[in-house]
């Protein structure tokens, strides 16, 4: 066994700070995010993407097949493009038709398999799939930009860089299903494979290939090639609503793993005693790049716009704090991060993401720790007193809430009969709260604490009398071992912004250019500025990449 020294690190930022929704909702992508991690793996192997089938008509409808080999396994992406009437185009779960439909396959599909998938994929949830189908997805056009790009190409020109910059994608996915949904393969099928064993790696590979398809489709319809500079700035969009939010609640160990990795990376960087010249240069480059990114980023939502304005105002101050004198001091990045509390939460989180970026040699290996094969377990032997002590230690924020006040229980999460779409309701004006989804974690734990008061003996005895507290007890025990497992905010309160949960998860995917449409729906751009091919060097350096002038 080779013993590697563990790099020094400062203390991790505490969960009481990091696991608040306001801060989670200010997250930025980092080099540890899943798509950048995937691209580094692909670049290291110089993965080549082939396109053995291109059966697309002049108007852009038909199907295509992309293939590649990654870490010893072959994969295919089937893309089906359909003529979607505008009145049918919606990004909501309740949609029944889409511009494009996709399946990532395990292995290369033969003609019969391809025909099966081409028939089934456009039906999405209404069809059934097989265990050789790894991911099911669909995407809608960014109509304005797609039409603009194809029209310009057809006219012998190139699209307006400003429009490319502002939107950032030709299509946006509206669902990317994995892990057994609608009959596709259980995650266990790929859980032991190199690269794809990482969290959401198969999903990231899928959206990466869809990006390629969108480029090829636009060039095909337009009849000309895109300028690579512009093409690189066309990523893949995503429209996300409430469905992503319960995931963080339902998978506490995964959330803990992701957060611990990110915070450990930051702690390692903060412990660096002195910076070499090339790292300093890199930091300056990234600060300038982040400024360009902030200038490109446009949002309509007033709350998001206000945060972005603050970021833009504060960012020059951040740049000023990266002076030669400041960076020559001991542990300069720890000082910088400690002093960052003078700035808004959004600026702090952008800075945290930036500081990790130049230190791939120090942190990239941590990505191996982002998958968790475990599930929360209940320890029935724990004493009631010990459980009560854990609640007092870790759940003060939940105990302080007064659920008799309407604002603390104003909302309820639910799943609609209409295509099982996740939604959020007003408890006091809408029907359905009696069927609410159990995302009221704070209220559950508070109720547990009330009934637990003064109890003695093993938890097994308590739960036999109070079976309604079983889930909450398990969450309390889980948090004691996995300190970043819980969102430390009231998710049924009036102040809860589900968009903060979505952004946190999406940042871990690698998403940027968050463009909220409400407090519970957002569009994002993935891979905007990412390399077009398997170039190992550029795969290392596209964080918040802005378009070359």
């Amino acid at each position: 066994m080779l013993d590697l020294p563990i790099p020094p690190q400062t203390s991790l930022r505490p969960p009481s700070e990091v696991m608040r929704l306001r801060r989670m909702g200010a997250a930025f992508p980092t080099r540890l995010s899943f798509l950048p991690t995937l691209l580094r793996h692909m670049a290291a192997e110089r993965v080549r993407i082939d396109r053995p089938v291109w059966n697309i008509d002049a108007r852009g409808f038909g199907h295509a097949l992309y293939t590649l080999r990654l870490a010893g396994h072959a994969y295919g992406l089937v893309a089906v493009s359909s003529d979607l009437p505008p009145e049918a185009r919606t990004d909501r779960v309740i949609a029944t038709a889409w511009d494009t439909a996709h399946v990532l396959t395990d292995g290369i599909p033969d003609a019969a398999e391809l025909a099966r998938i081409v028939a089934a994929a456009p039906r999405q949830e209404a069809a059934r799939f097989t265990a050789r189908d790894l991911i099911l997805s669909r995407a809608n056009k960014s109509v304005r930009l797609f039409d603009h790009v194809t029209a310009r190409l057809a006219a012998g020109g190139q699209p307006d860089p400003g429009l490319v910059r502002a939107t950032g994608y030709l299509m946006r996915t509206t669902a990317v299903y994995g892990n057994g949904k609608f009959g596709i393969a259980d995650r266990s099928r790929i859980a032991d494979r190199p690269v794809l064993s990482g969290p959401f790696m198969a999903e990231m590979l899928t959206v990466w290939l869809i990006r390629h398809f969108t480029h090829d489709l636009a060039e095909h319809v337009g009849g000309a090639r895109l300028d690579p500079r512009l093409k690189r700035h066309l990523g893949i969009g995503n429209a996300t609503g409430l469905g992503m939010a319960p995931f963080l609640v339902a998978h506490p160990l995964l959330l803990d793993a992701w957060m611990q990795v990110r915070e450990t990376a930051l702690a390692r960087v903060r412990a660096v005693e002195a910076l070499e010249a090339d790292r300093i240069d890199r930091l300056h480059t990234l600060v300038a790049r982040a400024a360009a990114h902030l200038a490109e980023w446009q949002v309509d939502d007033p709350t998001a716009a206000a945060r972005l304005d603050m970021l833009r105002r504060e960012w020059p101050e951040v740049a000023a704090h990266l002076s030669p004198e400041a960076l020559a001091r001991p542990r300069p990045l720890d000082r910088l991060m400690s002093g960052a509390t003078r700035w808004s939460i959004d600026t702090q989180e952008l800075l945290a993401a930036l500081l990790i970026e130049p230190f791939g040699d120090l942190v990239d290996g941590l990505t191996e720790c982002m998958a968790s094969p475990f599930a929360p377990r209940l320890d029935p032997a724990m004493s009631c007193e010990a459980l009560a002590a854990l609640i007092a230690q870790d759940w003060d924020w939940a105990l302080a809430l007064d659920f008799a006040q309407r604002r603390h229980s104003a909302r309820f999460w639910y799943v609609s009969e209409e295509k099982a779409e996740p939604r959020l309701g007003d408890r006091f004006t809408e029907d359905g709260a009696e069927r609410e989804s159990p995302l009221d974690i704070a209220r559950q734990v508070q109720a547990l604490a009330r009934d637990l008061a003064g109890q003695r003996g093993p938890l097994s005895r308590f739960l036999a009398l109070h079976p309604n507290h079983r889930a909450a007890a398990r969450r309390v025990q889980t948090l004691a071992r996995h300190p970043y497992a819980e969102i430390r905010d009231n998710m049924i309160g009036a102040e809860c912004l589900p968009i903060d949960m979505l952004r946190c998860k999406l940042a871990f995917f690698g998403a940027a250019k968050f463009d909220p449409k409400s407090d519970r729906w957002t569009r994002i751009a993935l891979a905007q500025g990412a390399p077009l091919g398997p170039d190992p060097d550029s795969a290392q350096d596209w964080w918040l990449a802005a378009m070359d002038p």
Binding site: T130, N179, D186, Y414, G425, S437, A464, P467, R470
Partner: protein, 187 residues
């Protein structure tokens, strides 16, 4: 590979069983335990999913476990009793003897899910199901689960029927504002 409409992934089974158990009125924690056990049960013997459906049928009354060791129960309903029996064994040791439990396969799957290192030994003769806490036994290897699993449509329909009780009926207001997005995305 043929595309059988009866084939269900293990994750589909687990997800639907969770909703069905909640829809059946079981406490959330019990629903979670049963859902975690469902893939084990389905992968081992898909025909035993019948037992699971029967076990989920409401009502689900509170269970009082006897104090004595071994725990002796006649015709226990496993959905409520199963997790509590396992809790007692894992916390205090000892054994349990269940005469004609309504879902013995579910009980065995719950034991495997709760104690994957094999600390709870199970034995059945068709009438009695014995569970014994054996912490010193050498643990077996972790179960290797592979989907998909064939699930008879009537079983799936029964589970969906229970799960539907967790869905909120559609309304125009809900459709318009519940998801936070409009109904058209042509920009």
């Amino acid at each position: 590979m043929t595309n059988s409409s009866d084939a269900r992934s293990l994750n589909e089974i687990e997800a639907l069983v969770l909703k069905a158990a909640r829809g059946a009125g079981l406490p959330l924690g019990h629903a979670e335990d049963i859902a975690a056990a469902a893939p084990l049960l389905a992968a081992a013997a898909p025909g035993d999913l019948d037992q699971l459906v029967a076990a989920l049928a409401p009502p689900h009354d509170p269970v009082t476990l006897p104090e004595a060791d071994p725990i002796l129960l006649h015709a226990p309903r496993i959905a409520m009793a199963g997790p509590l029996i396992l809790d007692r064994l894992m916390a205090e040791g000892g054994s349990a003897c269940l005469r004609t439990p309504d879902a013995p396969a579910l009980m065995i799957a719950l034991a495997r899910a709760a104690a994957p290192a094999g600390q709870i030994a199970t034995r059945t003769d068709g009438t009695y199901l014995h569970l014994t806490m054996t912490p010193d036994q050498p643990p077996p290897g972790p179960p290797t689960l592979a989907g998909p699993v064939p699930v008879p449509p009537r079983i799936w329909a029964s589970l969906e029927s229970l799960a539907a009780r967790t869905l909120v009926p559609e309304s125009e207001a809900s459709r318009r504002s519940g998801a936070g997005a409009g109904l058209s995305d042509n920009d």
